[in-house]
């Protein structure tokens, strides 16, 4: 309960702070519209030569693209602002102040900041999913929606874990501002269904760096495609990834020695 109150307070503070940058919403919305229009244009080019891509129809690929942007939006709204701050603070030594507060350091480090204007990607991603589903004339029962939600949460847990693990490296290497680029590198392969990749790359993207669970699997569940792997694996891997990342964070934290003397 107390934890929820703290997170709510951060969220409220973030919204108050961000209302100072109202024009950012327009700017971000504009950028999101451009990005998504270009991506959909790309799909149109690809599907002008084929009616299905590794078994995916245009509308299904659109839903997948929507999931990609939705996750991207969540990352930029809620994950990257807080965790990027950790990197700066550890370098400057001001991470001390996080440790001194009577709140678990991991919670504080991962929920302090919200850049609410990036919600534009979440909204537009959702819109693309909706358009794809309407054009598919998909029958979304309550059960399917619930499974989709569960798989999405699992996917976002995986994203958070990867991001947290990369951030934790700061305790060893200090200068890691660009390390989260590694995430984006792999994540960009998730704009298309993982089935298009050759076997070795598909395995890498399913089991080592599980991008497949972030975009392909959620899109499969809601568009009624035969799932790539057992659906229940997604939340399970999400939970395991969270545990592993939290453990790694604690190991990293024990190495923190502040800066200067």
């Amino acid at each position: 309960m107390r934890i929820l109150r703290i997170v709510a307070a951060f969220l409220r503070a973030a919204i108050l702070k961000e209302t100072a940058y109202r024009a950012e919403l327009v700017g971000n919305l504009f950028r999101s519209v451009i990005n998504i229009a270009v991506a959909v244009g790309g799909l149109a080019v690809v599907f002008s030569h084929t009616s299905e891509l590794s078994g995916w129809r245009l509308e299904q690929a659109m839903v997948l693209l929507g999931v990609y942007y939705l996750v991207q939006g969540v990352v930029q709204t809620a994950l990257s602002p807080s965790l990027n701050e950790v990197v700066t603070e550890v370098r400057k030594g001001t991470f001390d102040y996080v440790l001194l507060k009577p709140v678990p350091s991991l919670l504080l480090s991962s929920t302090r900041r919200f850049v609410v204007w990036h919600i534009a990607d979440v909204l537009l991603g959702g819109a693309i999913i909706a358009i794809g589903l309407i054009r598919l004339e998909a029958q979304i029962t309550f059960g399917v929606a619930a499974i989709f939600a569960g798989v999405m949460v699992g996917g976002i847990a995986i994203v958070f874990s990867i991001w947290l693990a990369l951030t934790t490296l700061v305790f060893w290497f200090v200068r890691v501002e660009n390390i989260t680029m590694i995430f984006q590198l792999f994540f960009d392969t998730g704009r298309y269904p993982v089935e298009i990749y050759p076997f070795w790359l598909r395995s890498l993207l399913t089991f080592v760096f599980p991008v497949a669970f972030i975009t392909t699997v959620p899109a499969q569940t809601i568009t009624g495609r035969e799932p790539l792997v057992a659906i229940w694996l997604a939340p399970l891997i999400g939970a395991l990834a969270l545990l592993a990342a939290a453990r790694f964070w604690r190991i990293g934290l024990s190495r923190y020695t502040s800066a200067s003397s």
Partner: protein, 268 residues
């Protein structure tokens, strides 16, 4: 365009200094170059999945491999980074000291561009050779196509630099020059030969891509190298590439002159 000897010597010295500076950021540069590897691989996978054992518009899997492997190198050589290097200089008032030097600050941007590419190319090449071994592209190049490719590549790099500089110079007027740049990048993605080789674009979009400048910063050199164009298309392509280069040079000049007149540094 006449360039004075002293300016050339200055540009050379600047480039040497920038290369030395750039070596500090090896790891970051390596990550950036990996970026240029990932995107072509995604689209190679897309087209490979569609082609399967057959072909798409006459292109087989090994042709797509040749196209997108060449793409990796070309997109690296022609990448415009001025929005990240030159734009912030204007925005943060760091342009002022450069204005006192007896040469145009655009040379600073050029020196940084060349040094970035030469250092990160050293890091990219080993990755690229590994990919060539894995993907086994079908390169059907001729001596003539290699020579024409090099010409097209140099013009593409110059054109791209001028376009990138133009967008960076918008920082004289707006803090949102990056949004305009993203529109350009989006158009390059669609029409420049990234999402698909231009020859695979549907009807009127292909004509649009042939007329607009994006293809001449990216896709055109690749098509030249891989002998995808007949003599007529080749001649038209080079004519348009030169025309756009000339136009871009005029635009950069005009934008620079207008911008510098109303430049005022930030800070006390």
């Amino acid at each position: 365009m006449i360039v004075r000897r002293a300016t050339l010597a200055g540009a050379l010295a600047l480039t040497r200094a920038e290369v030395a500076d750039m070596f500090q950021y090896r790891v970051v540069l390596f990550l950036y170059s990996l970026w240029e590897v990932v995107h072509p691989i995604v689209y190679l996978a897309v087209w490979g999945a569609i082609a399967g054992e057959g072909d798409v518009g006459g292109l087989r899997l090994s042709d797509f491999a040749a196209y997108y492997l060449t793409f990796m190198l070309v997109s690296h050589v022609t990448a415009a980074i001025e929005i990240y290097t030159f734009g912030p200089m204007i925005q943060q008032g760091e342009l002022s000291p450069h204005l006192l030097r007896p040469m145009n600050p655009v040379w600073v941007a050029a020196a940084r561009n060349i040094s970035y590419k030469s250092v990160s190319m050293l890091l990219l090449i080993p990755v690229w050779i590994g990919l060539v071994i894995i993907l086994r592209p079908a390169y059907s190049v001729t001596a003539g196509s290699v020579v024409l490719f090099l010409v097209a590549l140099v013009i593409a790099a110059l054109l791209s630099f001028l376009v990138g500089t133009t967008f960076a110079l918008l920082a004289f007027w707006t803090t949102r020059s990056f949004s305009f740049w993203e529109i350009w990048m989006g158009l390059t993605f669609l029409l420049g030969g990234q999402v698909a080789p231009v020859e695979l674009l549907p009807g009127f979009v292909q004509n649009l891509a042939t007329a607009l400048p994006m293809r001449y910063t990216l896709g055109f050199p690749i098509e030249v190298l891989l002998n995808r164009l007949d003599p007529g298309e080749l001649a038209l392509g080079f004519a348009l590439q030169f025309a756009w280069l000339f136009a871009a040079a005029l635009i950069v000049r005009a934008v620079w002159r207008a911008g510098i007149r109303q430049y005022s540094a930030v800070g006390a």
